[in-house]
Amino acid sequence: MKKRNNMPLICSCIVMGSGQLIYKQWIKGLLYLAAFALFLYFLITVGITDITGFFTLGTVEGDAWLGIEGDDSIMMMLKGILAFIMVALFLLIYYSNIKDVLNIRKKLESGREIPSFVKSVAIFTDKKFYIVALALPVVGVLIFNVLPIIFMTLIAFTNYGGDIVPPKLVDWIGLDNFKKIFVLSDLKATFFKILGWNILWAVASTFINYFGGLLLALLLNKECVKGKTFWRAFPILAYAVPGFITLLGFKFMFSYGGPINYLITRTGANAVGFLDIDAGWKARIIGLLVNAWISVPTSMLLATGILSNMNAELYEAASIDGATKWVQFIKLTLPFVVFSTTPTLITSFVGNFNNFGVFYFLRGGLYLDGYFLASDTDLLINWLYNLSIDNNYYGIGAAISLIIFFITSVFSIGTYVNSSAFKKEDTYR
């Protein structure tokens, strides 16, 4: 019995690429070897310090007066995350290296020819096309979506922000930020006030937009309406104008010098500060209406598409049974439309819950008494912006992001995964 040659495998396990070299796979072996050397070099020069830095977040505080160049905690955290990613990447290459050696051995044992390097690259791009094609998108998403989210999640557990920004040292503080939000009187009061309004806003605006769009679609669907394309063009026009232009336009319209106040003063009354700091419910209602103006066209288009799929025979049967139009609407149209739009209903709820634009453009940057860096129309997402971008409260802001994530994911994960778009993707095959 011929003994199996385990030598190249063991070599490759210890030094990446050496096994391939023993098998005379020169280019592949050298590439693996180079990757191995590069990784070791990275680990020795910066990798290990970066990883320890991730845990300590710096020990030397900088002092401009004494000329001490201190540790930059945030850079250390970023570099730490990057070092972890490098290690993960290395493990992936290491795994492919061992798989490759096993593959070569199998081919040799069965007496097949081992393809040359150029040929095996060509085979790889064909057989594993998905890896080649997805490499760039995945790296992009990792760097600009995953890394920031991991970074922000970690920031939520540090005291970064406020007075504590580099050169001061940032520290891990566990759940203190969350405790502050739920316990500290200033933050707590603001958080619950904003959360209450945010939920009310999300429910009300989703309701208005959804039924506004549905009613408009039903109206346009009526047999007696001639020139449907013409009538439909107006909402579509509103839908096509970039949102920030609409919002800024409405801000001008409701401003002191705007046309509405002009008409009011013409009747002899005093000008109304629709969007002033003390506007209260006036500003909230304007926000709801403006948001409806922007969003109703979208839900109208959606409802139109769904209504065209409805079975007309149902209505004939219903009118023979003597059902009035109202009963037909309640018993037939509404259940059908609501049933088939539940996923979009929930996405639009989440979208409205996180609707940053409306109040940012209509009355951004106002801070009201009784609120901590926010006003009574601000949603959580606006508060998050005020805290972290305008006022550098990064830690608290990140904690609020996580709370928002928790709320929205509870609402949506189930629906997304159960949605037909996700499940029945092979229907048309």
Binding site: P137, G140, A238, F250, L384, T408
Partner: protein, 281 residues
């Protein structure tokens, strides 16, 4: 007979009420836009000079001023920046999104479901949370005040929204690919020779949406571009005050018109294109 008559009256009533509501709704949607368009042609710039909704005198001066009087508000340079960012983002995003969507639709591999679930979970984080972090990262790496960094962020994030395009590729019948395979085509060749020619409508759709997004986005450029001469149109317009209202209106109309036209053109193109995407003889 009498019954028929009341029915007819009722019918006329219903039709007229329907049309009344339609007219009202159309006015609600059209009026603010009309107001902005007319304001852009106003002779005096300030909103305080308007008598009610409409300017008292009209002229083309504001549009001229928009492009010539650049001391305070450098609209031509904003436009150049916007065009630069949108064009390059459009190019890169379209490539990445189409590749991702095609692969996710056509291939079955071990990491496929995990990747799909991950993108869904990622999209559930407030878009803003990532942005504050991107801001911090960009500050720390000194990439702030750079138009390329905007292009990078827009393009890199684009593959996350691959689902629409994947839905399109899902409708292309497998038999086309099988036929190409039997002819000995490799996967890269199939992608270039078979898939791309079949996906013109979705390519156009993707290109247009990924152009429109940076074109009208405000939040990211406002965060990353602190230099006045790097502002995009969206950032610049928000800094125009009430006394320059007609300038704001003119600037807004000028960038809204291409987008609106594209949307209207697109809606026809897409319907025509998608129905072509089937197997042909």
């Amino acid at each position: 007979m009498r019954k028929n008559k009341t029915f007819r009256i009722k019918n006329v009533m219903e039709v007229s009420v329907t049309y009344l509501i339609l007219i009202a709704v159309s006015i609600i949607f059209f009026f603010p836009i009309l107001w902005l368009v007319l304001a852009s042609f106003s002779k005096t710039g300030s909103i305080y000079d308007f008598k009610g909704f409409f300017p008292s005198a009209y002229s083309l001066d504001t549009f001229k001023k928009l492009f010539t009087d650049t001391a305070m508000y450098d609209y031509p340079s904003w436009l150049r920046n916007s065009l630069f960012v949108s064009a390059f983002s459009c190019l890169f995003s379209t490539t990445l999104v189409i590749l991702t969507a095609y692969v996710m639709s056509r291939f079955r591999f071990k990491m496929r479901k995990p990747i799909m679930t991950t993108t869904l979970v990622l999209s559930m984080f407030p878009s803003f949370m990532g942005m504050t972090a991107v801001y911090l990262i960009m500050v720390n790496f000194g990439l702030i005040n750079n138009l390329w960094s905007l292009v990078l962020i827009y393009s890199a994030g684009a593959p996350m929204g691959y689902l629409v395009q994947k839905g399109y590729f899902d409708t292309i019948s497998n038999s086309i690919y099988e036929a190409a395979k039997i002819d000995g085509a490799t996967n890269p060749v199939i992608f270039v020779r078979v898939t791309l020619p079949l996906s013109k409508p979705i390519l156009v759709y993707t290109a247009l949406t990924s152009f429109a997004w940076p074109w009208s986005d405000f939040i990211l450029p406002n965060m990353l571009l602190k230099n006045r001469d790097l502002w995009t149109v969206a950032v610049g317009l928000t800094h125009i005050g009430e006394t320059e209202f007609s300038r704001f209106a003119a600037g807004a109309i000028f960038i809204a018109v291409p987008i609106v036209t594209l949307y209207f053109a697109l809606s026809n193109f897409l319907v025509a294109g998608v129905s072509d995407g089937a197997v042909k003889g």
